[in-house]
Amino acid sequence: MSWLVIARQEAWLTATARSVRLLAGLLVLVCAVGAYVFPVFDPGPHTTAHFGGYVSGWLGTLVPLIGLVVGYNAVVGERRSGALALSLSLPHGRRDVVFGKLLGRLAPVVAAIVAGALIAGALVVYPFGELALAPFLAFVGATITLGVVYTALGVAISTFVATKTRATVAAFGVYVLVVVWTELEAAIELALASIGSPGEGVPTAVEVLLALEPTTAYDRIVAGAIDPAGSVGDAWYLDEWVALALLVLWATVPLAIAYRRFAGVDLP
């Protein structure tokens, strides 16, 4: 249970860091504000199920940011400072270190999502809304999964690279992609229309490519399985279960690749 010792220490170190507290507070605030304005700006129905579809766009922007910020310095920071030499002088494997750090850094991310959801849920239900418990829990679960994906991506970057500068650049690059990606489909449709081939829509290959990205996958899960007012396309690759499988792959494959490299390098 070596990873548990590391996870415990890492959770404490992460949760007490000022930047993490700030971002976690921001997430809770966004959830609360979203829930507060939801009955005002949305025609309804004002249920916790439909609320998921209402805030998923906001969370799809903020949760990746939090995950990447929490994760990107996890390993490389200590590798450069020399604190990693202390941990690896103790009987911990490199696998324990990477896995323990991921778990430890996830703890505050998950805690912030749960806290935000509790507050938002209460605000939606009271005084005029309606509680739809199962879809709401599914929504919280999907959002936590999104948090896991981006924290794991951040930790993967941190495990793969050898300098903090590279980790910063890579994490920033990933985040820019996240922000740009969700706008790509609309941009491509607009471009197609302007060159005079409307109606045909985006080519399938491009659509598949666009669907691979985790935030859009999260949006499809919310629209397809949680929000009764939402809908996704009929194509198999737009199915919410495919989207969930994609999230699982994003949470595991990059980190596994990064670990394989990390396991074989000379430190620092």
Partner: protein, 303 residues
Amino acid sequence: MAAIEATELSKRYGTLIALDRVDLTVEEGEIFGFLGPNGAGKSTFINALLDFVKPTHGSVSVFGQDCQADSVRAREHLGVLPEGYSVYDRLTGRQHLEYAIRSKGADEDPVDVLERVGIREAGDRKASEYSKGMAQRLVLGMALVGEPDLLLLDEPTTGLDPNGAAEIREILREENERGATIFFSSHILEQVQAVCDRVAILQDGSVVAVDTIQGLREALGGGTKLVVTVDRTEPSILESIRGLEGVETAWLDEDGETVEITCRNDAKMDVLVAFHDAGVDVVNFRTEEASLEDMFVEYTGRR
């Protein structure tokens, strides 16, 4: 079973050879000094034991456990003070020790360890406020947790004043009496001389000597230096002294009246007799032990 067993351990970085086929055996219960100038490869050797560095050839094991294939199990035997570590800035000294205790599954009281390494009063302060010497003591404390079979210490007295260094040596002796094997590197000769049963001298990635201090001394011209003040001398007299059995070297100092001779202990009288026979008056003489410094220079060609 050997505490450390290295077989042809080699590490190459591009064209730089940091370790060149190092064979080394450290027996259980020894205090073993790993000596060499900076850059000789001492830390690379220790880092290979910790699996921080992957050897390009050869292998090294700790109590029979391969340090690469079975790294974690090998490290379960170790208490380590590594090279180039940093403490966790945001943890207190006590929290560092709690981390080490949990990691090793030990059940010591952190306060006892803090007391032992002499930083008890600083235990509840953040380690970022520690001086280099205090951090060194803290990490040594982490190494002591769980009564390890082998203490592996990379330059343990760096950042400590002479008193601190003496305290550390005392702790090492206590640990050795408990039954622990001690392996530590140093580029400072006195540190090694004061506590070690055996030493290895590393030079440019190769082990150039492994012996007891006494053995090294004997290997170096019998271990005694004779300093003789004479009223006059001639090259022929020095030649005849160099020809005596048991004499290694003899040379005239710059002042022109002091002759230094390194020789076996039992050859000292013969030297004095030879001066007398040549009609030279010996005004004064004294003997010195050949120092480790002399040996070190002899072996590594550096000063």
